[in-house]
Symmetry: C2
Subunit: 298 residues, 2 copies
């Protein structure tokens, strides 16, 4: 298959590019002019988007891809006034330009990436932050395309993610640094439930979804959403115990030293449907062990 992918300089899409190439797909990564593309597999073809929509239309017309996996996103837990333009630009405008180009080239399917943060309080839609609102707004724009332009559209919603090569300042990296530093770390009371998925499990879900969408178009997804849940869900506190067990370490965390953040998600969305045909292969403890081992090897 010919597959266009966005966000390939980021953690999840970068790993997906590698998997798709392994699976012998022809991969086209759309990157920005300012992107550092050194981490992207040399077997992927690059297209540099400079904001010119006609050039993007031409790129799609020339490649004539089977589908698009859209993972590029500007992620912001909180925004400032200056973030509004880049947020709308990255999370609504860019995706709409992709759908326009894809529709014009008769691309069959489009896999979009959403976030559990679209579902504060487990509601059908209640955004945790303006970032989550922009993700929902893009799905609303997309409806025009899948209702009128014959392209199929589905959203896979992710929550926390981790894995080898993840350099973001997220929980396991924080704890790893804490463990090495010998210092103590003030955290929130730690009762919030964490749903964190390992990169290989995530890539399995995208791969399964691509397979599903490429089967004959009898049953279209038509804007449906799926969620990427971890089999293990537990409080942040309990998760720290799992981490300590796997790494055989003791973390010096002062629970309750910091307040919960505004609109802290205490119970992540649990009403999503799982991608048909997918199940989690790598359990949480094994995944943590893999990541730790890979770090030690490097």
């Amino acid at each position: 298959m010919k597959i266009v992918i966005t966000g390939a300089t980021g953690f999840v899409a970068n790993a997906l590019v590698n998997r798709l190439i392994q699976e012998n797909h022809e991969v086209y990564a759309i990157v920005r002019e300012e992107s550092n593309t050194s981490s992207i597999s040399k077997d992927a073809k690059l297209y540099v988007d400079n904001g010119d929509s006609h050039a993007l239309n031409n790129f799609f017309a020339n490649v004539n891809p089977d589908g698009v996996v859209h993972l590029a996103s500007l992620v912001l837990v909180e925004h400032t006034t200056d973030d509004i333009f880049p947020l709308i630009n990255s999370n609504i405008l860019f995706g709409t330009r992709l759908l326009e180009a894809a529709s014009k080239s008769n691309t069959k399917w489009f896999i979009n990436t959403g976030t559990f943060w679209q579902h504060y309080n487990n509601e059908d839609y209640n955004p945790v932050n303006l970032y989550a609102a922009s993700k929902e707004a893009f799905e609303v724009m997309a409806k025009y395309y899948y209702e009128t332009q014959g392209i199929d559209f589905v959203t896979l919603k992710l929550n926390d993610t981790f894995g080898e090569g993840d350099t973001r300042r997220k929980i396991f990296n924080l704890w790893r640094d804490l463990e090495k530093s010998g210092k103590s770390l003030g955290m929130s009371p730690g009762e919030q439930i964490i749903d964190i998925s390992y990169i290989e499990n995530i890539i399995d879900a995208y791969s399964q979804l691509i397979e599903n969408m490429n089967v004959d178009n009898k049953h279209k997804y038509n804007g449906k959403s799926f969620s990427l849940n971890a089999d293990e869900r537990m409080s942040l506190k309990a998760l720290s115990k799992v981490y300590e067990k796997v790494t055989n370490s003791t973390l010096d965390i002062v629970w309750g030293e910091r307040p919960y953040r505004d609109r802290e998600v205490m119970v992540p969305w649990d009403k999503g449907e799982v991608v048909p045909g997918w199940k989690q292969k790598i359990p949480l403890e094994n995944a943590i062990a893999r990541v730790i081992n890979s770090e030690e090897e490097n």
Copy 2:
């Protein structure tokens, strides 16, 4: 009250500015650098937005308005690739910047304007075109603000509109020109139901909504939508008969000479709730007669 209004160079907002000034409100019209503001009442204060969000925040902080009536919009029945950026810029980005500035200045309420086109086939959401999708996407962005920032938000959805001074190439203007020209006009089969509202009735609804929102904040609207329906709904063909009766003319229309457009709305949305306290004061026939008379006077 101090009321900020957008879109005042357009037909509906221009008339609303006049009414609000009549009602002794202090009116601030936000216009663009390229706007021709000559039609806007001299009693309104103008603020020129050049896209600088900090300047917009400062404007709101200085004025400290009670509320915003947002009528500015880029309306497109059909779009081309080049329209995507201006559409998102006008219909999503500008409104989000307004909500950001309004929230920061503790503005109490925000009245947004939507369209029946958000409800193709009378569905809860199905956009007739990308313009309608962008209107829905803005409501989705707004949810972040009314859920988290204490501002109340409501949308009034309009369908067709007409009235004195309306220069748009819409149905009554077309027929007026046809009547004067003595020519014939090819139209669609004419069975689509038309729901067209007279400007004074529309302005009544905004005025009522402003009143409702300014009452103590006990019952917030929290993102609710209302619809502006005409009491009279009839096919385009039947409407032409009403026009002929009021104007004592005969229109030479060749029905069926042109096809319906793609996604022609055969039955406009009729599931909307009416603004509490509002009802249509001027019946359709009187409204048409008023518009015709005012033209003859000019």
